[in-house]
Assembly symmetry: C5
Homo-oligomer: 321 residues x 5
Amino acid sequence: MLVNCVAYQSGVRLEDIRPQDISDYVQRPDCFVWVAVRDPLPAELDALQEEFSLHELAVEDARHGHQRPKIEEYGKSLFVVLPIMEMNGSELQLGELMVFAGENYILSIRQHAEHGFTDVRRRAEAEPELLRHGSAYVLYALMDTVVDRYFPVVDALDDEIVAIEKNVFADVPSRATIEAMYALKQKLLAVKHAAGPLLEATGKLYGGRVPQICAGLQDYFRDVNDHLLRLNQSIDNLRDTVTTVTSVNLALITLQESEVTKRLAAYAALVAVPTMVAGLYGMNFKNMPELSWPYGYPLALLIMLVIDAYLFYRFRKAKWL
Amino acid sequence: MLVNCVAYQSGVRLEDIRPQDISDYVQRPDCFVWVAVRDPLPAELDALQEEFSLHELAVEDARHGHQRPKIEEYGKSLFVVLPIMEMNGSELQLGELMVFAGENYILSIRQHAEHGFTDVRRRAEAEPELLRHGSAYVLYALMDTVVDRYFPVVDALDDEIVAIEKNVFADVPSRATIEAMYALKQKLLAVKHAAGPLLEATGKLYGGRVPQICAGLQDYFRDVNDHLLRLNQSIDNLRDTVTTVTSVNLALITLQESEVTKRLAAYAALVAVPTMVAGLYGMNFKNMPELSWPYGYPLALLIMLVIDAYLFYRFRKAKWL
Amino acid sequence: MLVNCVAYQSGVRLEDIRPQDISDYVQRPDCFVWVAVRDPLPAELDALQEEFSLHELAVEDARHGHQRPKIEEYGKSLFVVLPIMEMNGSELQLGELMVFAGENYILSIRQHAEHGFTDVRRRAEAEPELLRHGSAYVLYALMDTVVDRYFPVVDALDDEIVAIEKNVFADVPSRATIEAMYALKQKLLAVKHAAGPLLEATGKLYGGRVPQICAGLQDYFRDVNDHLLRLNQSIDNLRDTVTTVTSVNLALITLQESEVTKRLAAYAALVAVPTMVAGLYGMNFKNMPELSWPYGYPLALLIMLVIDAYLFYRFRKAKWL
Amino acid sequence: MLVNCVAYQSGVRLEDIRPQDISDYVQRPDCFVWVAVRDPLPAELDALQEEFSLHELAVEDARHGHQRPKIEEYGKSLFVVLPIMEMNGSELQLGELMVFAGENYILSIRQHAEHGFTDVRRRAEAEPELLRHGSAYVLYALMDTVVDRYFPVVDALDDEIVAIEKNVFADVPSRATIEAMYALKQKLLAVKHAAGPLLEATGKLYGGRVPQICAGLQDYFRDVNDHLLRLNQSIDNLRDTVTTVTSVNLALITLQESEVTKRLAAYAALVAVPTMVAGLYGMNFKNMPELSWPYGYPLALLIMLVIDAYLFYRFRKAKWL
Amino acid sequence: MLVNCVAYQSGVRLEDIRPQDISDYVQRPDCFVWVAVRDPLPAELDALQEEFSLHELAVEDARHGHQRPKIEEYGKSLFVVLPIMEMNGSELQLGELMVFAGENYILSIRQHAEHGFTDVRRRAEAEPELLRHGSAYVLYALMDTVVDRYFPVVDALDDEIVAIEKNVFADVPSRATIEAMYALKQKLLAVKHAAGPLLEATGKLYGGRVPQICAGLQDYFRDVNDHLLRLNQSIDNLRDTVTTVTSVNLALITLQESEVTKRLAAYAALVAVPTMVAGLYGMNFKNMPELSWPYGYPLALLIMLVIDAYLFYRFRKAKWL
C-alpha cells in the first residue's frame, strides 16, 4: 500500500507525484524522491523495482521479509533493513523497515508494524536546511526514529524484570515466576538479535570507508550508532540481571526446600514422641505399676505435653519452626 | 556414479559429452563443462582427476569425504566443500557436496545425500544471460541451493523446541523430555558445525581480495553469505532457547520435588495425628474416665475427624494440597 | 548552576569572567577558558552552546544525561562523558561528568554527583608549568580525578564480598546472604558498565592516531588508561569471586540439606524403634510369657534404651548426629 | 639413542653417515641430512647441537622436554614441537616430536612415544620427486603423520562418550558414570591443549609471510592446518557433548531422586494407613460395638485391604509406583 | 634499602659505586650501571629518580606499588612491573619487581618478596659475552628468573588440586573440600591475573615494532614469552580442572543425598512393617482366633522376621542397602 510519494528540490517539498512518474524525477539531478509504502503487494514491489532500478537480490530480500538487520551496498545505493520493535501489551511484536537509498531517491517499506513514520517526514520538511542533504539525511532520520523507538521497549522489559525480582524475593517460589522469567528471556533474545547486528551495521557508516551517499553526515550516523551502543549495553545489563535472578531463584527454591524439610521434621517429632509414649503404656505387661496409679493417665498426658513443649522451644530457637 | 556431463558455450547448452572428452572441451577458451557425479567410486575419481588436472590434496579430501566446510584455492581453481543437511523423519542426516570450480569447468560431487541438484541445472539453463558468467555462476547457484535447503532443517528443529517447551511447562518433568532435549542439542551442534565454518568460508568470496573466478559475482556471493548469517543467527537463537529451557526444566524439577515433599508431608500428617490419638486411648491405664463414657468412642473418632479437617483446611490454604 | 568561569593565560589564572563574555575569550589565541557547571537548566545549556559553538548532537546528549561513557570527536573538539560513582552508605550512586574540550576552552558539566571538582582546579592552578598545556591538561586532570575516585568504590565492594564470604562459610545458609550477594552483583554490574567502556574510550587517547588536542600529553592519558586497566582487573576479580561464592553457597545449601536429612533420620530412628518394641508388647496374644515376668516391663524399657544407645553411638560415629 | 642418520642428494638416498660427519654434509649445497633420534641423552644432544649449530634456547627447550606445541624461527631454521598422543588402553599418553629444520638438514627428536616414524622415511624415499623439495618436505611429512595419528585418539574418546551416554540414559545414575565423565574430560583437556596451539602455529606456514624454507610447499602445510581444523572441531564437539551429558546426568539424578521420593511415600502410605486403622481398634473404649461383632476382625482386615488396594490403584495411575 | 650498586664496562664488572655517583656513570657511553634496591623508602626513591632522571608517572607507580604487570615505554627507557609469586606454606604471597631500564642503566626495585635476585647478578657476571649486550640483557635475565620462579608455584597448586580430587572421589562430601576448592580458586585467580597481563606485555618485546633497547635480544624475549604461554596454559588447565571438580563434587553430593534417602527409606520400612503387624494384633476384637493359638505370639514374630528378611534381601539386591 502506497503511503506517500513526494518529490523534493533543495530540501523543499515540490509536489506529490504518481508512482509511474518516479523514474522521471529520479533522472533529474537536483531532485530527490521520497516514497513510503507499507506491506506492499508483490505487484507493487515489481513496479517500484522498475521505477528505481533496484537490484534483484535486494528486492528478493524485501519480498521474503524477516531479514536480519543489515546495511548492504549495491553500487552507489544502499539497502538497509531495520527491525521495528513494538510492545503489544506484554507481547513483543517484531516488524521491519526496509529502506532503499540512492543518490536521489529514498524508498521505505514498512512491514508488520503498527506505528508509521509520517512524523519523520513532517519534522524533516520543517527543517529544509537539513533536508537539503538529500536522501542520506532521510535515511538518518528514519534510522534515528527506529532506534529511538527501541528505548521504550527496553524500558518495558526493565519493568518486567523489576516485577519478577520483587516476586522472587517476596513470595514463595512458584511456577508463575519461572514462566515469567522464561518469557522475558525470550523477549530479550529477540531484542538482542535485532539491536546487535544493527549496531555492527551502523558502525560502517562513519569512521573509515563509508558509503558515498553517507559521507557528509558521519557525525549523525555516529550518533545513531552511539544510541545503539547504549541500547545494547542496557540489553546486556538486563540479560545479566535475568541470569542472576534465575540463579537466585534456584538458590531460594533449594533453600526453601531445606527449610520446609526442617519444619516438617519438627512437626513430625511433635507427633511421634507422644505416639511412642502412648505405645509404651499400651503394652500389656502384667506388672506395670504406673497403670494402677490414680493419676497415671493425666501424668502420662502431662509427660507428653512437657516433652512436646520442650521440643517446640528447641525447634523455635533453632528457627526450624 | 556419473549424473550429468554437459558442455556449455556462451551460457547455452552445447551437448552432452563423454567423460573421456572432458579435457578437450576444457581446453577450448569459449566453453565450459559442468559435470555432476554422486557417490563416485575411486576409479571414477581418478579418471576425473586426470581429465580436469585436479590437485592431489583436494582429490584426497574428496576421496575420504567427511570434510569440514571450506573453500580452498589451488592456483586459479577452487575446491569447495558444502555440507548437505536433510531431515529423515526426526533424524538429521549429513552429506556433502564437493565442488571443483576452474575457469571453464565445474565438477560437483554429491555424497550421502538423497536430494539431487538437477533443478539447479534446469533453472540455470533457463537463464542463459546469467549462465554466461560461467563456472562462478554455477558455483553460486549450487551454494545458494545448498544453503536454502538448510532453512527447512532449522525450521524442523524450531518445531521440536516448541514441542519440548510445551511439554516442560504443561506436564510433570519426565525422562522423555530430557532425552528429547539432549537429542535436539546434538542436532543443533551438528547444524552449527556445518553452517558456522561455511559462513566464515563464504565471507572470503566478496569484499577484499577474492578468488579470481568469483570476482564478477560478488553481490551474489554476499547474498549467500547473508543467508548464512541469518541461518547462524537462528541456530544461535535455538541454542540459547534450548539452554534456557534446560535450566527452566531443572528449576521446575526442583520446584516440583519441593511441592511433592509438602503434599506428602500433609498427607502424612493426616494419618499420623489419628494414629497418635488412637495410641492415647490404647493405653492401659486403669483410670481413664473417657474409656467408660458411653459416647467415648464416637467422640474419639470425632476428635480425629475434626483435627484432620482443620489440618486439611490449613494445608489447602497454604497450597500444600 | 554555574560553579566557576575563569580565563587563563599561559597557565596562569587571568580573572573570573561573566558567562556572556566567554565567546570573546575563546577567540583570543593565547587564552583558554575553564567553565564548570552542575546540573544545568536547559536555558543555561543553550547559552553555553552558543558561547562555545558546541555541536548540536553533543549538547542533546548532555541535555538527556545518562549517557554511556565515551569520548567523541566533533571536528577539533572533544565531547567526553565520564561516569561518576559514589558510595552513599551501601548504595551505589551514579552520576556523570560531561566535558567539552576545545583548543582553548574546557567546559565541565557535573550531574547527579555530590562531590565536586574544585580541588582539581586548585591543584592545577598551583602547577602553572603543567597548566600551560591548556585544555588537554585540564581534561587529563579531570579524568584522572574521576578515575581515582573509582578505587574507594571498588574497595567498598571488596569489603562487602569479604563480609559475605565470612557469612557463607560461618553461618547456616540464609536468605539474607543470597540477597546481599544479589545486591552486590548488581552493583558490580553497574561499576563494570561504567569502567569498561571508559577503558576502551581512553585507549584512543594515546598510541596510534590521537585527537589533536591530546597529542602532547599521551604519557598522561596512558597513565589514566593504565589505572582503568587495573580497576577493570579488580572488578573482574570481584565478579569472579562473587560467582565462585555463589556456587560455593549453593553447594553448602545442598550439603547442609543432606546433613539435615541424615540428622532427622537418625532422630526418627531413635523414636521409631521403641515404638516398634512397645507395639510388640501391646499385642493381645493370650500366650506371651514375657508379659507375666515380674521384671518384664523394666526389661522391655531396658531393651529399648540399649537399642537406642547403640543406634546413637553408631550415628555419632558416622557423624550423622 | 640415534635411530637413523642419512644423507640425501636430489631426493635420492646417498648413504648412511656417521653423526660426527654431519657438519661436513650440511656444508654441501646440493645435499641434505635427515637425522632421527629418540629420547637422547644430554651428551648426544650436545653433539648434535654442535654438528648442526643449533640455537642455544631451542636446544634448552629440547633438553627440558614437555614444551607446548610451537613453531619457532631461529634465523633461517625452524624449531618445531609437535605433541604425540597415543592411547595406551584407556590411558592417554603424551609424548613429543621435536624437529629442527634447516635449509639442508632435518633433525627429529622423539620423546616419550612408542610409535616411531620409520614409515615416513620409507614413504618419502619412495617418492624422490617430492623428496627433492628437501627438508621442508620431510617436515611436512612428519607433521602430516603426527596429525593423522591424532584421529584414532579422538575416535577412541568419541567411543568413550558414546558408552557413557548409554550408561546415563539406560542405568540408574552412579558414581562410576561421574568418574568416567571426569576422566574423559581430563583427556579431552589434554588433547585440546595439544591440538589447539598446534593449529595456531601451523597457520603461520601458509598464506601471508611464511618461513623461507616452507615457501614452496604452502598447499601442503595448508592441508595439515586443515586436518587440524577438522580435528579441533571434533574435539570441541566432544567437549560440548560431554558438557551436555554432564548436565543431563545431573538432571536425571535430580529427577530420579524426585521419583524415588514419590515411590517411597507411596509405600509408606500403604503401611501407615493399616497401622492407623489397627490403632483405632486397639483403643480400649468400653463401648466399641465393632469389637463384639462376630466378623469384626476380618472386616477390619478387609477395610485395610480395600483402602490399600484403592491407594495402590491411585499411585499406579499417578505413576508413583 | 639499597642492595647493590655496580658499574659495568663491556660486560665486565667495573666497581661498586656510591648512589650519588650514578648520574656520572650513566653519562659515560661505554658504561652501564645496575642498581638493585628492595622496599625503598620514599626518600630513596626520590634520590634514584633524580640520579636516573626517571619519569614522574612511572616513579609514582613505583611509590604506590601493587601495580598490574606491564611494560611501559617512556621515551627510550622502559618501566617494567613484574609480579613475584611465592608460596608461603599453602598461602600465596604476591610481591613485585619493578625495573627501570634505560640505554645504560638498569634499576630493579623488589617489593614484598622474600627471595632476592643476587644469583641473577652472579650468573650474569659469569658470562661477560652476554652481559656485553648491556641493560637489555639484564632485563631479560631478571624477567626470565621471575617467570621461572612461577613454575614451582603452579606446581604447588597442581598438587593441591590432586589432593582435592582424591578427597572428592574417596570421601563423603564435606565442607572442608568445598572450602579447599574455594581457596584454590582464589589462588588461581591471583596467579592468572599476574601471568596473563605479563604474557600480553612481553609479546610486545619481539616480532613487530619493539622498544629500541630490546632490539638485539628478540629471540631471548620470545623465549620468556614462550615460557609464559606454557605457564598460562597450565593455569587455564588447572582452572578448567577446578571447575570440573567443583561440578563433580556437586553431582556427588546430590547423588549421595539420593543414596542416603534410599537407605533411610529401607531402614524405615524394616521398622514400619513389624510395627504395622504388631498394631494388627494389638486390636481388641473379641473374636481374633490367632490370639488364642498356643504359638500365635512366636508365629507373629516369625511373620515379622520373614517379611523383614525378604525386604532386606530386596533392598540389598536393588543396592539400596
